[in-house]
């Protein structure tokens, strides 16, 4: 490794830990499920290359798995092309089977389809399939590889900030895992306590951590795991999964020190807490070591008291209008690839009338197999419903909602309940004070929605334009995933915070209208509901600018609001 020396003394490059994790992994490749490598960087490419060399050297398969791989290729099956060419069934082995005991590299894992993720998770559970090396290039926190796979990969490393350009060969010569004794009860206890302190609830990380500790001991030629091994395991396996900061006397680092534009060096946190105190109990040392290794962005989020979204969210409901499933619509001419499936009967039907002619041409007899041409191939088409995502933009400011916030919340909950019956998704944007926030990215989970709602405070100014902009961003993200957004704005329309965060009724009003017009340009289906006690014309004007329907419901309770929205929404149509 060649860190360029700009990092503070004593701190190491993030790639060092990733290299260590890779070496632990190589001690026994079937034990750790895989590794998540976040952030594109030369270091990551170098690590993957070194990894591939090490796997090659030990005779284990190491392949790339594109995210769009189809089931036939993944699991094996009949090779349609060669079957048609030869007239007999030709079987091919699937990628998972071919890579048994090896590893597959999945680029752009955050874009992986749930169907592929399901297969991979199952293969990891069975313990036979290849280990997964997930390359995660996600930019925002809501985009992440499927949670089911994150959970099943022992190691997570953040390499976006790494300055290393080269990675030494990943040698694991002489490491004898079987020679390492099982962890002592005190060691298990320390790992469990560390997980507890970091808020790691799942049991899988714990199991990974103890294997990692033993592998680390094996790498260092020890017969039993010592404190250093446990610390490495805690650092590599438990830290990236932290959901809270361990209780500490010292202040957590203030988040302002880390401007989000420049990814900070995670190494900066590693100051005196790195030195183990010889008198401290084992678990305290481990917690210290683990805390020091919590990735910087996660640390900042935790210090602000936000639970990281990455941990809970993930591959949920990222369904696309794919045309690969749904109700069958009939077949059309085409080549079965890219997931499109062969419509066999239609293909045969297309080929049959030509058989006489073709036999004559090729001089084949009646006993010979049916002759297929490329133009005979038919693929199936499916009708798929574009999932609807209802985005609620809730005005939680003092002016509109202080008295009515409870009704608004109740209405949102009722609509959520309705939404999950119809399998549509909901998102929630709230605006108050000087900001607007996407409280709930599109989800189908009532549990998460209810939590987000109950945590929603009221009061403050009305930054209406910010709220509308946030809603528009969410709608754009939804639309880009092939789903249909529809917007429900609950407000009184009386904006008093402008887009730049300055108070002022006039500017705020103009900004709000501008934001509303941007929504109208996008063509998103919207409805504005004025729930204040006395409806004013601002709400109606806003709705007009937004090209939305307007409802004034001054005395409605939660049920009435929900019913009104339901009635006003266009009927759910198949797209």
């Amino acid at each position: 490794m060649t860190p360029d020396g700009s990092s503070p003394e004593g701190a190491c490059d993030p790639v060092d830990d990733a290299v260590l994790a890779a070496r632990l992994f190589l001690v026994e490749p079937t034990l750790f499920g895989g590794m998540v490598l976040r952030g594109s960087s030369p270091a990551r490419d170098a690590l993957v290359a070194a990894w591939g060399e090490a796997m090659d050297a030990s005779g284990r398969p190491f392949r790339k798995l594109p995210g769009h791989v189809d089931d036939e290729r993944l699991l094996g099956g009949v090779d349609i092309a060669s079957s048609l060419a030869t007239g007999r069934a030709v079987h091919q082995r699937g990628l998972l089977e071919q890579c048994e005991g090896g590893a597959v590299v999945v680029p752009m894992a955050e874009r992986m389809e749930p169907r592929v993720a399901g297969r991979l998770a199952q293969s990891v559970d069975e313990g036979r399939g290849p280990a997964l090396i997930l390359l995660d290039d996600a930019h925002d926190a809501d985009d992440a590889p499927p949670a089911s796979l994150l959970e099943r990969c022992a190691f997570h490393a953040e390499l976006g900030a790494s300055r290393a350009a080269r990675v030494d060969p990943l040698g694991t010569t002489g490491a004898d895992l079987d020679g390492v004794a099982a962890l002592k009860p005190t060691a298990l206890e320390a790992l469990a306590a560390t997980a507890e302190a970091l808020g790691v609830a799942s049991l899988r990380p714990l199991i990974f951590a103890q294997s990692a500790a033993r592998a680390h001991a094996a790498l260092n030629g020890r017969k039993a795991a010592v404190e250093e091994d446990l610390a490495a395991a805690a650092r590599l396996v438990l830290s990236p999964r932290a959901t809270r900061l361990p209780p500490m006397e010292e202040e957590p680092p203030p988040p302002e020190e880390q401007p989000p534009e420049t990814p900070p060096e995670p190494g900066e946190e590693e100051n005196e807490s790195q030195q183990p105190n010889p008198d401290a109990p084992l678990e305290e040392t481990l917690v210290e070591a683990a805390k020091a290794a919590i990735p910087a962005d996660l640390l900042a989020a935790l210090a602000e008291g936000k639970a990281p979204r990455r941990v809970t969210g993930g591959g949920t409901g990222k369904r696309r209008k794919s045309g690969l499933r749904g109700k069958p619509l009939g077949a059309r001419q085409g080549i079965p690839r890219g997931g499109a499936r062969l419509a066999l009967i239609d293909t045969l039907r297309a080929a049959v009338p030509w058989q006489e002619v073709r036999r004559r041409e090729s001089g084949a007899g009646r006993e010979d197999p049916i002759q297929m041409r490329k133009e005979d191939l038919r693929v199936r088409r499916f009708e798929d419903k574009a999932a609807r995502v209802t985005i609620f933009a809730v005005d939680a400011s003092g002016s509109a909602a202080a008295a009515r916030l409870a009704e608004a919340k109740g209405a949102v909950e009722l609509m959520l309940a309705q939404a999950y019956v119809t399998r549509s998704e909901v998102a929630l944007v709230a605006f108050r004070g000087e900001s607007a926030e996407l409280l709930l990215p599109p989800t189908r989970s009532l549990t998460r929605a209810r939590r987000a709602l109950s945590e929603l405070p009221g009061g403050g100014g009305t930054p209406l334009s910010m709220g509308l902009d946030a809603a528009r961003e969410c709608a754009e993200a939804v639309a880009s995933k092939g789903r249909t957004p529809s917007l429900v704005v609950l407000t009184d329309g009386r904006a008093n915070i402008a887009r730049d965060g300055q108070p002022g009724r006039k500017q705020a009003g103009e900004d709000a209208i501008a934001s509303a017009k941007a929504l109208a340009r996008m063509g998103v289906d919207a409805i504005v509901i004025d729930i204040s006690a006395r409806a004013a014309r601002e709400g109606a004007a806003l709705a007009e600018a937004m090209n939305a329907r307007f409802l004034a419901l001054p005395r409605a309770d939660a049920h009435q609001i929900a019913d009104a929205v339901q009635a006003a929404q266009p009927s759910r149509q198949a797209a």
């Binding site: 089931d71 009949v78 079957s83 048609l84 007239g87 007999r88 069934a89 389809e113 749930p114 592929v116 993720a117 399901g118 297969r119 998770a121 199952q122 069975e126 949670a147 089911s148 959970e151 099982a182 962890l183 298990l188 206890e189 790992l191 469990a192 997980a195 507890e196 609830a201 799942s202 049991l203 899988r204 990380p205 714990l206 199991i207 809970t312 969210g313 591959g315 949920t316 409901g317 499933r325 749904g326 069958p328 499936r341 419509a343 066999l344 009967i345 045969l348 197999p369 049916i370 909950e413 009722l414 959520l416 309940a417 999950y420 989800t443 189908r444 989970s445 009532l446 549990t447 939660a558």
Partner: protein
């Protein structure tokens, strides 16, 4: 990889109880397991497969049909001598296509011989056994509808690709999922007989014990399995005995009364709640080797049988389990 033995699973008693009840009496309906990741949901479900007494099936029947099946579906059952075979356990992946689930045209035979033959899918494989779906809440809608229909009717009717096939598909549906990642439609939820909630064990001792056991299993799966074989065998015997005893157990009037009262008190929708409650209580009594179905069985199984059937009031934060426990306390003290 060798499966983790059922008896070696630490804690999670409610889930284990529900799975065993479904094994004793499949007519209870499936089991839905809700819980966070890494709580042993899949481990328990998959371990169940080994705990079931073998079934007798016609050797040539692609569906593992019994004698009754052969009479009912003479066209599809291949017949042949009756042989013992293990209970099927099908692990259905989230990404399964419709073809693989319901079955499709046998491509190989169609290509080679131009024959229109049916290649059975996962539903056929699961006949008389278990169909396990991890993350069922993320399953595609049209697959969920299809599963519902087949699970309810006990047979799979295929009318596509020029095929017209009807074959038996009676299975116990076991689903698991994390409610944080999406709810299950109430229509589907209601079809599950039992629903259990699993939580990550929080006591350090339990967590350490689990780590210890998993490490031992990873180091030497065969030895570990052998070590727990006796206990797994005991459970298998218990299930087999329970299955035999089931016929003889008939809940008395008093227990029926209790069940009706309880359902009324918690406001469980529909008759399915009462039926499941009765069946589950009977299966539990059979499993425990009791001479009669008693109130204690009913109370023990009530949360699993009813928690997913309560009318949901989204504005009420009180958990279903709490409401059931409260009703039990008020009714039966």
């Amino acid at each position: 990889m060798a499966r983790f033995p059922f008896s070696a699973i630490v804690g999670q008693d409610e889930m284990k109880q529900a799975l065993l009840i479904a094994a004793v009496d499949p007519s209870v309906g499936g089991v839905m397991v809700f819980g966070d990741r890494g709580t042993g949901k899949s481990t328990a479900a998959r371990a169940l497969a080994k705990l079931l007494p073998p079934i007798t099936a016609h050797a040539n029947c692609p569906y593992g049909g019994s004698k009754e099946d052969a009479e009912r579906y003479p066209d599809v059952c291949g017949g042949g001598p009756l042989r013992k075979r293990p209970v099927p356990f099908v692990d259905m992946p989230l990404g399964a296509t419709e073809d693989r689930v319901i079955g499709s045209l046998d491509l190989e035979r169609a290509l080679r011989a131009g024959e229109k033959a049916f290649e059975p899918g996962l539903l056929a494989k699961a006949h008389r056994g278990f169909l396990y779906i991890d993350e069922i809440n993320l399953l595609e809608d049209h697959l969920v509808d299809l599963l519902l229909d087949v699970a309810a009717s006990g047979e799979n009717v295929v009318e596509r690709e020029g095929l017209s096939v009807r074959h038996p598909a009676k299975f116990v549906l076991i689903g698991s999922g994390n409610p944080e990642e999406g709810e299950l439609r109430p229509q589907l939820l209601d079809r599950f007989g039992l629903s259990v909630e699993v939580k990550t064990p929080t006591e350090i001792e339990t967590r350490i014990e689990i780590m210890r056991l998993v490490a031992a299993q990873e180091r030497d799966p065969e030895a570990f399995e052998a070590q727990w074989a006796a206990e797994d065998e005991a459970i298998l015997k218990q299930v087999a005995r329970g299955k035999n005893r089931l016929e003889k157990l008939e809940p008395g009037e008093d227990v029926l009364m209790d069940a009706a009262q309880l359902c009324l008190a918690v406001g469980a929708d529909g008759l399915r709640g009462e039926l499941t409650l009765m069946r589950a209580a009977r299966a539990l009594a059979a499993l425990k080797g009791a001479k009669a179905v008693r109130r204690e069985h009913l109370v023990a199984i009530a949360p699993s049988a009813l928690r997913h059937r309560l009318r949901r009031d989204v504005l009420d934060e009180t958990g279903s389990t709490v409401r059931i426990t409260r009703a039990i306390e008020e009714l039966f003290g």
